[in-house]
Symmetry: C2
């Protein structure tokens, strides 16, 4: 009798999901509501949701509830990239400048944006801590701080690494002006002009531009849209490279996340050759699952992993607060920081330190994760619904970027030009490689509050894409 | 009759100065006081002061009055440096780290400090503008700003260059995280590993460290403690160098200021060969004379001078707000900024923009100049009085650093070790060269409020120096 009841409920809800009454990204009724509305026990309600979850129709979010996650069957994952394993250094600057130039125009729906929109940030609370910092700091933040960075902030960052058994102390951390600044110090300290490094493919274009400017050769590794780089692919080029850069958790632009076994394997093979890994973990805190994925740093026994992060994607891009735990290269990194910038901005570091110290960060992240997760499901649904048949999307389990692969005949650089005229901006796939690939791909950011307008803009974008077939 | 009267007054005051009743750095009675106390006309009072000024006993400060500037005759200027004109790249890191490590200890009297002390900064007014910036900025400063930097700030900086006919616009300026960050972008954009650059000697050690880290060879040019580098010395090495870096106005550590003719000549000879000049003009606004000295940039017709500045020495070191007017290299510099740090801290830039916009800067600078000028005279007097006979000091006409040359037998690295035990910190001369020179020199900062305690500490330092003879 009981069994029949929960199955009846789950079948009814399943129908509502499949016919679109309950839409992907929608929050499901609470268990308590189910219990009341259907007049069943809490246990039965739970059983019904477990069944829906097992069928892939809903997902649970810790401390938040259940969400519709239905994806029509034809929507599949993009292919593993197959870049050439020769080092390249061609240019895509013009395209990047073009995309950047529209970023400050707020009339444009910015699916190309690399940061979450303001409305998702805890601005009032940050302001409170900014005023506190101004009051508490000697000289109100006009003084230089220690070269290694604000001590309180370093302590807070070290403390946060307990979630993945980082076991770091304030002495292990150097603060930087954002994560790219951390990567820049890392590359300048560890490589010389002419050296070769390995990166994911597609990969954040800033990393490619930096490497090029430093005269480095870049090997782009085949990368799976869900699981990240293939350890075997890295193994093949180990003899050529001086350093490796990975965005291991919720990679920009793919949203991929390396499984722990891959992380372990990668760290092991790099350690055997003494090759440093610069790990850009700036999205790791924005996970949609039950716990924070470990970074490669968690498996680092030799101090060869330079683990970096920032609050640019979660709290305040304009504060320029990031960090690096440089392992055994700490002295070199502190020296780089000293000679290139002397020290970090005092007051924004103190503000973030205050914010972290009061435990506000975890509270904010919980809300942010829930909202971004729901957004990611809405975007997936919209792409399935509006984009040309055969479109593929990555399945980010964190972060706020997803990767869309369109029909081979669609050139996303052309799509960009057409879309921007209708005040929609995307990041064409070509930006994310030094090679001429990903021309039918694009990165979409879902880091803005979901609304009917966003849905309409995605519909409009789909229509433009269809027009290119 | 009138003539006799003013001479009588000036003789009486002259006596008071020479016997120490009126001490170097003291403010002289106002003309009105003189007029009342001596019962003479304002004209006579003025005549008396002009006579004292002509005899080098007092100096006038615009909008402030007259100050005692008597220096006993035996105090002369240090010698012109005679570095070898071979490129060198030896190391003094250990010494620099040692000196840096005591900088955060506020029990120490920090004559080694490279910034003015808090008490000289307009902190309350800056705080007001910080709160305004927080209220006015979209997202309260959490947003990324334009890569080139805050537009309002760039406009203000361009406007300030009118004082030396800079004729720059907001489009010509790129903001940076302080002046060293500007120099770093300049060197990275314009030079390659193995290139040679020319600098002053002695020169700020940060420049030497940066050049070394970038794999550049450095030629140190003979530098006059009052007039800066000799154009002829630069001429001799032109064929070897890829770029030149000059702190043309109130050089750190000498306090030297290049005469306009030298600036013109230097720009001309560099232009003929197309060699860029990175000009670090971060002390130019802190002049003690009647007007701001021109930078070399004022004579630049080809866009070859990259003119940099910051508010780190006048308003807020910890804000990390500086700038560069890169001439024809603007695109390269913007690209460097993009790849290494993405953008500047939004809120501190806006705060400084507000401060400059309201004309608060000129008001603050007037007070700062008066105080620092008086300090410089007090320091000169104290060195003459307390330091070993034969000590020489530079005669800074701006900034807050002076250079002391002691007896050849005194090693200032040893002096540092002895002084720090008595809680006095100096910057030994050896820090300011890659060559083994200036071992009997030191840089003293007078960027703190003058007090009896400072006087005592200088006396104590003199005693320690004498002990080394």
């Amino acid at each position: 009798m009981k069994e029949v009841l929960y199955q009846k409920i789950s079948a009814s809800l399943s129908e509502q999901i499949k016919n679109g009454t309950l839409k992907t990204g929608d929050k499901m009724p609470s268990l308590r509501t189910l219990h009341k509305e259907y007049g069943v026990s809490m246990n039965t309600a739970i059983q019904a949701y477990l069944e829906l979850e097992a069928n892939g129709l809903i997902v649970s979010r810790p401390q938040s509830g259940y969400y519709v996650s239905y994806k029509p069957a034809y929507l599949s994952v993009p292919s593993v990239s197959t870049p050439s394993n020769q080092a390249k250094s061609e240019s895509v600057e013009t395209l990047i400048s073009k995309v950047y130039s529209t970023l400050s125009n707020k009339d444009v729906t910015r699916f190309s944006l690399g940061v979450p929109e303001n409305e998702l940030l805890p601005i009032a609370k940050l302001n409170k801590e900014l005023v506190n910092a101004m009051r508490d700091l000697t000289g109100s933040g006009t003084e230089y701080e220690e070269i290694q960075g604000n001590r309180k902030l370093r302590r807070d960052i070290a403390r946060l690494t307990y979630t993945w058994n980082g076991n770091l102390s304030e002495d292990d951390i150097v603060t930087t002006a954002g994560a790219m600044n951390a990567i820049s110090f890392g590359l300048m300290a560890l490589t010389q002009k002419g050296d070769t490094i390995a990166v994911e493919s597609p990969v954040y274009f800033g990393i490619l531009q930096l490497a090029k400017s430093l005269g480095l050769k870049v090997i782009e590794l085949p990368t799976h849209p869900v699981a990240g780089i293939e350890p075997d692919a890295l193994k093949k080029v180990l003899s050529k490279i001086k350093a490796c850069i990975l965005v291991s958790n919720f990679n920009n632009p793919l949203g991929s996340c390396m499984p722990d076994e891959h992380k372990m394997e990668v760290v092991k093979m790099l350690s055997e050759r003494g090759i440093p890994l610069i790990e850009d973990d700036l999205y790791g805190d924005v996970y949609f699952g039950n716990s924070r994925p470990k970074p490669c740093k968690a498996f680092d026994e030799e101090g060869l992993v330079l683990w970096s992060g920032s609050v640019s994607k979660t709290l305040a891009p304009g504060y320029r607060v990031g960090w690096l735990a440089p392992g055994k290269f700490k002295d070199k990194i502190v020296h780089q920081k000293l000679i290139h910038t002397v020290s970090s901005t005092t007051i924004t570091q103190e503000t973030i330190a205050n914010f972290l110290e009061k435990g506000r960060y975890e509270h904010h992240l919980r809300k942010l994760r829930t909202e971004l997760h729901a957004n990611s499901l809405q975007f997936a649904r919209a792409v399935a619904e509006y984009f040309p048949e055969g479109s593929k999307i990555s399945q980010p389990q964190g972060g706020f970027m997803l990767w869309v692969e369109l029909d081979k005949r669609i050139d996303t650089t052309e799509l960009y030009d057409l879309a921007i005229r209708q005040k929609i901006s995307i990041a064409p796939g070509r930006m994310f490689s030094l090679q001429n690939q990903f021309t039918n791909c694009m990165r979409l950011s879902y880091g803005q509050r979901w609304s009917e307008q966003i849905d309409n803009k995605l519909k409009q974008l789909g229509r433009i894409a269809k027009g290119l077939l």
